[in-house]
């Protein structure tokens, strides 16, 4: 029974908690038990907060029993990528540089989730400072993919994706500078949204690239992501990028998508030499959307390389500026992969950075024009399914990415599971919307999940008798 609790969605669990049929204490204990049994296979957590989580769960239970139910996150066990600052709790960025770093303040979003009554189970693995790649020379091992532990979960929000997919957290927070929520969500078969730039505060999250960093939730379903966004989408006057806008109507995500206009970026998909199983799943997804009453047409976006050159010039410049001091003074405290990805930023000319920002303006305008004729654009979220751990193609200018363009434009972009390949690894679809129409993106994701069976399948971890029996 306890493992079944760990496979509830927030939507399901919150109803049970609200009606007092499920205790946050029972739920949290179930997660901690499952993490103790299965966690070592996945290395999803860098830090477990068992005692603190149980204390929070008991407090939540007492409040709810007294009639003070706070909302859908109340009593729900979650995890935070270990670049979210947590007051009094070690926050390392998966790096020896911050191995003993204990912040004195919560990230804005961590505080919002705590106020909403969420139970923090622990801090999850990440690529070092959200960019270092899958590395074996850090104080902790890299996370593994629960669908096949020999495979990579993607990154940089690797532990968050692995934990949610494996039933080791009901939701987890990630960050996304070039695909770091959507990539691991895709490879681990979960839902993950990079919200519109400015909709979710980044304050108190260790930065990688100020103008490309986004924070967002990773959950089993798009509907759960919408519940999380209802808490997270708040104006933060202390994040300079935070937008003071009305919150999108996240309650509308269960609505119909009839008449919604969906653009299919065929040329971009062909240019990327996307794997055949990913393309087949996407075409099947488009057929599902047509059946649901959406209108599908082809759209043409700017070439991938235009986005790549802008994204890499900006991200490496901003990232190097953040890390230059420590790279000069203590380079050995970073992993080799991190150094090799960030140090090239030292050689970008200021003029090139400014021109990248000017091209970014054009790319934003170009996509806005495309999206006058469609409401959403769909692509795969990942070019291929998960590769073997440590054997991924190195990051390069010409390596295709469906995620990166929408960090450049700041558009809301959601990854959902679009099926499984013959090896049982998840396939993915990305749904992109207009700025601040995150609810439309989530509605399309939720409609697809409701119309298909892919949310009924969970990873079968070797020692996981209950899941194997499904």
């Amino acid at each position: 029974m306890t493992d079944e609790l760990c496979f509830l969605t927030i939507t399901e669990a919150s109803q049970l908690i609200k009606s007092r049929k499920l205790s946050p204490v029972e739920l949290t204990a179930a997660y901690l038990d499952r993490i103790a049994r299965l966690g070592p296979q996945l290395n999803a957590y860098l830090l477990l907060l068992g005692d603190e989580a149980m204390a929070s769960a008991r407090a939540a239970e007492a409040e709810i029993m007294q009639g003070h139910y706070r909302g859908p996150q109340h009593g729900v066990p979650i995890a935070l990528k270990d670049i979210y600052n947590t007051r009094g709790i070690r926050t390392t960025a998966h790096s020896a540089l911050l191995q003993h770093h204990v912040p004195d303040e919560d990230a804005f979003t961590a505080a919002l989730l705590a106020e909403a009554g969420a139970i923090l189970l622990g801090k999850t693995a990440t690529w070092e400072f959200a960019i270092g790649g899958t590395s074996f020379d850090l104080p902790w091992p890299p996370a593994r993919n629960p669908w096949n532990t020999a495979h990579d979960p993607g990154g940089s929000s690797s532990g968050s994706a692995a934990a949610v997919a494996a039933g080791l957290a009901m939701a987890a927070m990630g960050t996304d500078t070039g695909g770091s929520i959507r990539g691991p969500a895709a490879l681990c078969g979960i839902a993950g949204i990079k919200p519109t730039y400015g909709l979710v505060s980044r304050r108190g999250i260790l930065p990688l690239s100020f103008s490309l960093d986004h924070a967002g939730p990773m959950c089993w379903t798009a509907e759960d992501c919408a519940l999380m966004m209802g808490v997270l989408a708040r104006h933060d006057p202390l994040d300079p990028a935070s937008a003071d806008v009305q919150q999108p109507d996240f309650a509308s995500v269960t609505g119909s998508i009839r008449g919604l206009r969906i653009g299919y970026a065929r040329a971009m998909i062909e240019e990327a030499e996307t794997s055949a199983d990913v393309v087949a799943a996407l075409e099947q997804a488009l057929a599902t959307y047509r059946d649901l009453g959406a209108v599908v047409s082809e759209v043409e976006l700017a070439p991938s390389l235009a986005y790549a050159d802008v994204a890499s010039t900006i991200s490496r410049s901003e990232g190097y500026a953040i890390h230059e001091h420590a790279l000069i003074n203590a380079p050995e405290l970073y992993g080799k992969s991190f150094r090799q990805r960030i140090v090239p930023g030292a050689f970008v000319r200021a003029c090139d950075y400014v021109n990248a920002m000017r091209d970014r303006t054009m790319l934003v305008q170009q996509l806005a024009h495309v999206m006058t004729s469609v409401d959403l654009v769909v692509t795969p979220a990942s070019v291929t399914p998960a590769h073997v751990l440590g054997q991924g193609a190195p990051i390069s200018r010409t390596k295709p990415s469906f995620a990166r363009p929408f960090n450049v434009t700041g558009s809301p972009a959601l990854s959902v599971c679009s099926g499984f390949n013959e090896a049982g690894l998840p396939l993915s679809m990305q749904i992109v919307g207009r700025p601040f129409e995150d609810h439309v993106v989530l509605r399309a994701g939720r409609a697809f999940e409701a119309a298909t069976q892919f949310r009924k399948q969970r990873p079968k971890l070797t020692a996981d008798v209950s899941a194997a029996a499904e």
Binding site: S211, L305, F347
Partner: protein
């Protein structure tokens, strides 16, 4: 000194000008990463409309609710 060694030494000197002294094992892998990034930055070197402002244009205007 053969060409690869010369390139690595030049890279070490280039890094040193930025105050960087990385482990020697980094240098061979760093060369293609720098070349990649520089290729991308160079692709940005072309003419643009004078009035095209960067997305990060500085502003002190109070933000308003949409």
């Amino acid at each position: 000194m053969d060409k690869p060694e010369q390139e690595l030494q030049q890279l070490a000197e280039r890094l040193a000008r930025h105050g960087l002294k990385l482990p020697e094992g980094d240098l061979a892998g760093l060369l293609p990463m720098i070349a990649e990034l520089e290729a991308g930055s160079q692709a940005l070197r072309r003419d643009r409309p004078y009035a095209l402002e960067p997305l990060s244009t500085f502003s002190l205007a109070p933000r308003r609710k949409a």
